[in-house]
């Protein structure tokens, strides 16, 4: 077997693992942002969901209960964001930042009071976390050239939430572009006045979008603490929420390009750990920090219109005031 092919398999595998939570959060944020509500709070919701998942999984011993808790917490936070921004027409960016900061502190405070381990949850074992699933025949087909390693090394052996992510992507695209709800959601993000005139509640549509986003952000947080890792550590999201936001913008607020952006960012992350300290032909050693900063630099370049053009939903960030 060709060695560089095997390296590629390993890289692709770790790309999938890093990309999954980004995809979930970014597509979750897409619902909110396409409905006209800025979702900077992705980072905080992800962190809170990761904590809730690990804490409940550790106390109940059930990963499913943890997942439920993660989704519940994330949806509640989305509703709080909605209460501030939709009902009371507060500033959406300020509200998102407030959530991020509160939760950065709260997860540590509560975790420390609950488990007394400086903000960490106990190590999760057995049924308390989502273990990798070996798909049928993975071991048998391993030696089939090319396709075998792809099946055994990338497709098989992921945890259930990766497969959920894979299902969520087409579902999101379908919901957003092929259903009446999706049409209304997108319309509310472009010209809420017109939707209101048609007799559809702008607020309710936006709340629904936020709840959907909350569910997906909850999945993403649970992925971090009870699937990819076995427990919560402080500041576990470590900027992934912002990275997902960057991917959403880099993907121009569309499902497939957003997915590709997540994969690109995840691939950069996977390659960075392999390249550490190694010299490449022509360019020499690439500093790790350069690759770490790459997604953010690309997003800035895109926003500046130097790499394509990202056009935000027209009504994004503008609270809708129904005239009385």
């Amino acid at each position: 077997m060709n060695e560089s092919f095997l390296i590629l398999i390993v890289l692709a595998d770790s790309t999938v693992r890093v990309a999954a939570p980004l995809v979930l959060a970014a597509l979750g944020g897409m619902f909110a942002e396409r409905s006209g509500v800025i979702d900077i709070g992705l980072e905080g919701k992800m962190l809170a969901a990761a904590f809730a998942a690990a804490a409940i999984a550790a106390t109940s011993g059930s990963a499913l209960a943890g997942l439920g808790a993660a989704i519940a917490v994330s949806v509640l936070l989305s509703l709080l964001h909605g209460f501030a921004c939709i009902t009371h027409r507060g500033n959406q960016v300020v509200s998102g930042m407030a959530l991020n900061i509160v939760l950065a502190g709260l997860t540590v405070v509560v975790g420390n009071a609950w488990f007394g381990r400086g903000g960490q949850t106990p190590q999760l074992e057995g049924s308390a976390r989502f273990a990798p699933i070996d798909l049928p025949f993975a071991a048998q087909v391993q030696n089939v050239p090319v396709l075998g390693p792809i099946y055994a090394g990338i497709i098989s052996g992921q945890n259930i939430l990766v497969y959920v992510t894979a299902a969520v992507v087409p579902l999101t695209a379908w919901l957003l572009y092929r259903t009446r709800f999706g049409l209304r959601l997108r319309a509310v993000g472009e010209t809420p006045g017109a939707v209101d005139t048609a007799g559809i509640s702008v607020s309710l549509t936006r709340y629904r979008a936020l709840v959907l986003g909350g569910v997906m952000c909850g999945l993403s947080g649970a992925y971090l603490s009870i699937a990819h890792n076995a427990g919560f550590v402080r500041d576990m999201s470590a900027g992934k929420g912002y990275l997902a936001l960057a991917a959403l913008i880099f993907g121009k607020w569309r499902p497939v390009p957003t997915l590709l952006a997540c994969i690109l960012f995840a691939f950069a992350d996977a390659i960075q750990s392999r390249l550490q300290g190694k010299a490449l032909p022509i360019v020499g050693v690439i500093p790790v920090q350069f690759i770490q900063a790459l997604p953010y630099v690309l997003t800035v370049l895109l926003l500046a219109g130097f790499v394509g053009r990202a056009i935000a939903p027209k009504a994004i960030g503008v609270p809708y005031a129904k005239e009385r």
Partner: protein
């Protein structure tokens, strides 16, 4: 973005003073409930916190030292708010400002203090402003959303500084990524040394003369925003962009100027931390001061007096919070971060929940007074 000014002819104090106090009270009530849920006594915690922040001259020194950085970042966020711009990048601008201070300290630390200190002030301002200039230019000329670009610039700044400190500026032959110590000429004098020189003895603390510079900046902020043509243009732009452009306000230049000043003010954080305390450039010396600035600006209603008071409050929370942690271990220092977030939530995001009833109440009272 609300700049919080009352309309002419209405009483200004209920909205400018009562409202932030109501917001603060709401945040503190939520915190109190949280403390109680964690099994501690909120009232005892409060008294421990207050004595921990103001009880001794050393404690007061620490409180004011923390407040110094928060005044800088609070002013930085506020000047952008006046133009309707949300600068989330204060953290990154402060970090890059540190690069300026670090370069001056390393290169010119041997020169007399009267030369090094002004040089460092200029360098921190220039580096901070430079880091803010790019997102500002992109917003003004290319329409890139400044909230997103400044968030991205925070991450880029962090990566850049890690790279420089780990690979380039690190003191040779040592493990931790920090530069060598500057020569003592590049240390900002401590307030306790100055007071000691005139015969007033207080306990040593990191409080240094950058505190005085912060107060000077606050005064200059007031003059700039309310008593110059540029400040007027900035406020008009913040109130109504279309009207401002129609009236001939140069939109792009005003945005870029406000953000550059904002970045410069953020950069001054490095004077306090790098030149005043650590005497070397090190990783993450900003410690989240840029984000505290958001809470300070909102709480201080973008007015320098309010900002100084709000910065004092946060300084007290940071200092008192660490004292509190000694006494009640369940109340960790992150509790302060929670309070900070809650204040942003109450003053910023949920502002209308408090403002609208208060305005209705005032209107009712006025209607009764003049039938």
């Amino acid at each position: 973005m609300s700049t919080g000014a009352a309309r002419p002819g209405t009483t200004w104090w209920p909205l400018e003073i009562l409202l932030p106090l109501l917001n603060l009270a709401a945040a503190l009530v939520v915190t109190g409930i949280l403390v109680w849920l964690l099994g501690a006594d909120p009232f005892k915690a409060t008294s421990l916190l207050v004595s921990g922040a103001f009880g001794t001259s050393e404690a007061l020194g620490y409180t004011l030292y923390y407040a110094t950085s928060f005044i800088f970042t609070g002013l930085a966020v506020a000047i952008a708010f006046h133009g309707g711009i949300f600068n989330i990048g204060s953290e990154g601008q402060a970090y890059i400002g540190g690069l300026g201070v670090g370069l001056v300290g390393l290169a010119f630390g041997g020169l007399p203090a009267v030369v090094v200190v002004p040089l460092a002030i200029l360098a921190s301002a220039a580096f901070g402003a430079g880091w803010a200039y790019i997102p500002a230019w992109l917003q003004a000329k290319r329409g890139s959303h400044i909230v997103i670009t400044t968030i991205m610039f925070n991450f880029i700044a962090a990566a850049l500084m890690t790279y420089l400190l780990v690979n380039v500026m690190i003191q040779p032959g040592q493990q931790s990524p920090e530069t060598r110590e500057f020569e003592p000429n590049a240390w900002l004098p401590r307030i306790n040394d100055w007071l000691g020189a005139i015969g007033v003895h207080i306990d040593p603390s990191p409080l240094n003369i950058s505190f005085l510079w912060a107060l000077i900046c606050a005064a200059a902020f007031w003059v700039f925003v309310w008593h110059t043509r540029w400040g007027y243009r900035l406020r008009v732009l913040g109130f109504n962009e279309e009207a401002a452009v129609y009236a001939g306000v140069p939109r792009a230049a005003t945005i870029i100027l406000a953000m550059s000043i904002s970045g410069a003010l953020s950069g001054f954080v490095a004077l306090n931390e790098v030149m005043g305390v650590h005497h070397r450039l090190l990783l993450n010396f900003t410690g989240g001061a840029g984000f505290v600035g958001i809470a300070v600006a909102l709480m201080g209603r973008n007015h320098p007096i309010g900002i100084c008071l709000a910065a004092l409050l946060f300084g007290a929370l940071y200092q008192g919070g660490s004292e509190l942690n000694f006494e009640i271990p369940t109340l960790t220092r992150e509790m302060v971060v929670v309070i900070q977030g809650l204040i942003i939530l109450m003053c910023g995001a949920l502002e209308n929940v408090f403002r609208t009833p208060l305005e209705n109440l005032l209107r009712g009272a006025r209607a009764k007074a003049t039938p």
